[in-house]
Subunit: 416 residues, 2 copies
C-alpha cells in the first residue's frame, strides 16, 4: 500500500490512512506500507536547501546533502504512521531506505533502485509486523542517502512489492482511479476498471500524472499488479479503483481506452533550414545538450527549393530556452526564421486494441475534421495517436473523441 503526500498531509489524514491499513491487516493480509512526506514538507525542505545554495546547477556533493535534507520528510511520516498503528494496537515499525537496505545508484536527486534486500523486512512482515517504509529514498554505495526524484515513492512501492513478492501494490491517491479522460473536461468520463501497463506508460508519456513512469515500467517488468484508488474513500467502503496489469489479464479490452489531453505543450517551427544531411541532427543535439525534451518532430519541404521546415513541440516551460538557444545558433544551422506558438495542445487516444484493429486513426481524423478542428501535427506509437491542435479547441476535441470511441457509453467490466 502506497500513500502519497496528500494522503498523509495532516495528522487527521494519517489517522485515515491508518484506518485503511488496519482494514487490510484485519482482513488477514500481510501489509507493507510506503509513505511519502506530508504534503508541503518536501517543498519546505527543498526551499531551505535552495536558499542556502546558489541557483546554479548543483554539483554532485551538493546533491548528496540535498538528498540528506529532503529525505527527512518521508522518515518523519513513516515514523508517525507506525506510531498511529501502534496506538491502534497493531505491531508496526518504520523502515528507512538504509535500514532495509534499499540500494540505489549514485545519481543523487534522481537515483535508480539497484537492489532491495528483502530478508530483514520480509522476516519482520512474516512475523506479523506491519512495515511502514519511507518512500522516495534509498542508500547509495558509500552509505549516503539518495532520493529517487519527485514521485519516487510510487517507484519505492512497486520495487518493494516486487522484492517481497507482494500479490498486489495498491497506490492510494486523491483520485479514485484512472479515467477514460480528465473528468474535469467532461462529465462523461468513466473510471476504467482495468488498464494495461503499456497504456499507463503512454498516458504518462503524454502528461497524465497518475503514476510515475518508472514505477509502471518496474511493475510491468516484474508483473506486479497495481491498483490506483482513493485514500479519501471511507475505510470500510473503498471504491474498486483501477487495476493496472498485463494486457493478457484484461478480458474485455477496449480498442481505445483513454483520450488524454496535454495542455503543457508549445510548438516551435524553424523555417527554411538548408535541406542537407546533418542540419536537423545539429538542431536536436543542441537541444538535447541543453536538457530540453522535444516531441512531435515533423520535417516538411519548404516553398523554397533546397530548404525544409522543421517543427517540434516541447514543454511550455522550456520553449523560451529553446528559442534563445536556436536563435544563438542561427548562423551555424543556417535557417531563416523561427516561430513559436504556446496556444497549442496535444490530444492523444491510447489503447492496446489499436494493435489489432484498423481504423482508429481514421476515426480520429474524421471526427476532428467533421467538427472543423484543424490538425497541426501528428505522432503515433503502436498503441497511441497524438494530434497537435489549437489549445482553444482541445476541450471540445476531447469530448467529441471520447464520444466517437464510445467511451461514454461502454458498460465497463467490473474488476476481478
Amino acid at each position: 500500500m502506497k500513500f502519497g503526500g496528500t494522503s498523509v498531509a495532516s495528522l487527521e489524514r494519517i489517522r485515515a490512512v491508518a484506518a485503511i491499513v488496519r482494514r487490510e491487516a484485519d482482513a488477514g493480509h500481510s501489509v507493507a506500507v510506503v509513505v511519502s512526506a506530508m504534503a508541503g514538507e518536501t517543498n519546505r525542505l527543498v526551499e531551505l536547501c535552495s536558499e542556502v545554495g546558489d541557483p546554479a546547477p548543483a554539483l554532485d556533493a551538493r546533491n548528496v546533502e540535498y538528498d540528506a535534507v529532503v529525505a527527512t520528510g518521508e522518515q518523519a511520516s513513516a515514523g508517525l504512521v507506525a506510531l498511529v498503528m501502534q496506538n491502534l494496537g497493531y505491531r508496526a515499525r518504520s523502515w528507512q531506505g538504509w535500514q532495509i537496505p534499499l540500494k540505489t545508484d549514485r545519481a543523487h536527486g534522481k537515483a535508480r533502485i539497484t537492489d532491495i534486500d528483502q530478508s530483514d523486512i520480509g522476516e519482520s512482515i512474516d512475523n506479523g509486523e506491519i512495515a511502514i517504509v519511507a518512500g522516495f529514498q534509498g542508500v547509495a554505495d558509500g552509505g549516503r542517502i539518495a532520493t529517487l526524484g519527485r514521485g519516487g515513492s510510487d517507484t519505492s512501492a512497486v520495487a518493494l512489492a516486487a522484492a517481497i513478492k507482494a500479490e498486489r501494490c495498491d497506490i492510494y491517491t486523491d483520485v479514485d482511479g484512472v479515467y477514460t479522460t480528465d473528468p474535469r473536461l467532461t462529465k462523461q468520463a468513466r473510471r476504467i476498471p482495468k488498464i494495461s501497463y503499456e497504456e499507463m506508460l503512454e498516458m504518462a508519456s503524454v502528461g497524465a500524472k497518475v503514476l510515475q513512469t518508472r514505477s509502471v515500467e518496474l511493475a510491468m517488468a516484474y508483473h506486479v499488479p497495481l491498483r490506483v484508488l482513493s485514500s479519501f474513500d471511507p475505510p470500510d467502503a473503498p471504491g474498486p479503483g483501477t487495476i493496472i496489469c498485463d494486457e493478457e489479464d484484461i478480458v474485455e479490452q477496449n480498442i481505445v481506452t483513454t483520450v488524454t489531453p496535454d495542455f503543457d505543450e508549445a510548438a516551435v517551427t524553424i523555417l527554411a533550414v538548408p535541406d542537407e544531411p546533418g542540419r536537423a541532427a545539429g538542431i536536436f543535439i543542441a537541444l538535447a545538450d541543453a536538457n530540453i525534451n522535444i516531441d512531435m518532430i515533423v520535417q516538411s519541404a519548404s516553398r523554397e527549393p533546397g530548404f525544409a521546415n522543421i517543427s517540434f513541440t516541447t514543454k511550455e516551460g522550456d520553449v523560451e530556452r529553446a528559442i534563445t538557444l536556436l536563435a544563438g545558433e542561427q548562423e551555424k544551422i543556417g535557417f531563416k526564421t523561427l516561430q513559436s506558438d504556446r496556444n497549442v495542445a496535444k490530444v492523444s487516444v491510447i489503447g492496446v486494441g489499436m494493435k489489432s484493429h484498423a481504423g482508429v486513426a481514421a476515426t480520429m481524423f474524421k471526427t476532428l475534421a467533421d467538427k472543423g478542428i484543424n490538425i497541426q501535427n501528428i505522432s503515433t506509437s503502436e498503441i497511441k495517436i497524438s494530434v497537435l491542435i489549437n489549445a482553444d479547441a482541445a476541450e471540445y476535441a476531447v469530448r467529441v473523441l471520447h464520444e466517437a470511441y464510445g467511451l461514454d457509453k461502454k458498460q465497463q467490466p467490473a474488476p476481478v
Copy 2:
C-alpha cells in the same frame, strides 16, 4: 565545534555558523562540527508524535518510532550546514549517527553512547573534509535510530571529540561563557575563564543549564577540554569563552567559583512520622518508584516523642504528584500532616577550593544571618554548599554571597 538549536535557528544563523567554522578551517584546524536541530524543529516533531499518540507513558516500540521522527531535525540541519560550507568552497559532508556509526544502547529517547567507530569519519577529516555531524542521535543494536534525550547534542560532541582525539571541544551557545552567577541577577557577575569539570557538574546538578551533565561527565572521563562560547560573537572576533578542564590545569583556583540559584524547587514536609526503622525508606522508595527526584532530605525530631519530621525538596513540577502519592499512603506510612511550600529557592556556592579551605560554610551562614535571611535546609557535597531559603530572598542572597566570596572583585586570570 558544537552548535545548539538557537545557533542554527534560521538560514541566517546557519550562515553565521558557517563563518565560524570557516575561521577555524582557515586557521589550519581539522574540524568536526556537531549540530542540533533548528530551534523549534524538535518541539514541532515531538508535538506531531504526541498528537498521534496517547499521553500515557510510551512503550518501547513507540519510543523507537518517536526517535525515528524526532531525529530528522538534526539530519536536516547537518545537511544544510554542509551545503553552506560547500557553497563557501569548502569540502564538507554531513554524517548521521548510523553513518559513522555512533552506537548507542537501546534506551530509546534517552540512549547512552556505547561506541563510536572513528575510522570512516577520521579518514574523511584526515582527507581535509569538514565533518558535519547530526547531534543527539546514534544507532542502536538492530539498526534503529536512538536519540540521546534533550540536550544530547552536547554529549554527541564530547563523545565524538574523545573518539577522534580532538584537541578541544568548543560548545557554541547563546551565552559567551560560564558566569560566577546568573548575570540577570547581578551586574557584578563575571565570566569565569576556567572552571573544573567537577564544578560544572555541581552547577548542572543544582539547575544551571549550561551543559548537559552527561557531556561534562564524558569530557572529564576522557580529559577532553571543553570551551563554552557564543555563536553570536562576530566570527572574526570571538570572545575567549570559558574553558572547562581538569582541576590541575587551573593555576589560579578560586575557593568559591560560582553562586548558583535554583528557583525550580519546592519543599515538602511530613510531620509526625513514627520514628521506627524503615518508615523513611518507605517514603523515599514510593517517591522513587513514581520517578520523583528528591533532594535536600532532612529528618528532625518531632515535638511529640517517638515521632520524627521529614522534609525534602523536589522540582516544582513534581510536587503535586508527590503530595498526592504521599496522601494516598498516609495510613501505611503513618504520618499526621503533610505540608508543601513552593515559595522556596536553593542557593549554592560551588568551588573545588573548598576541599582544601575551611570556613566557606561559615562565611555563607554568617553572611545570610547578617542580612536576616533564614536558612530552612542545608545540603553539602565536597565542593558545594546549598541552602534552601525563601524564594523572595533568593536574588538578594545571591548578590550578598557573590560579594562575600569576592567574586565581583576578583581579577580573573586570562585563559591560556
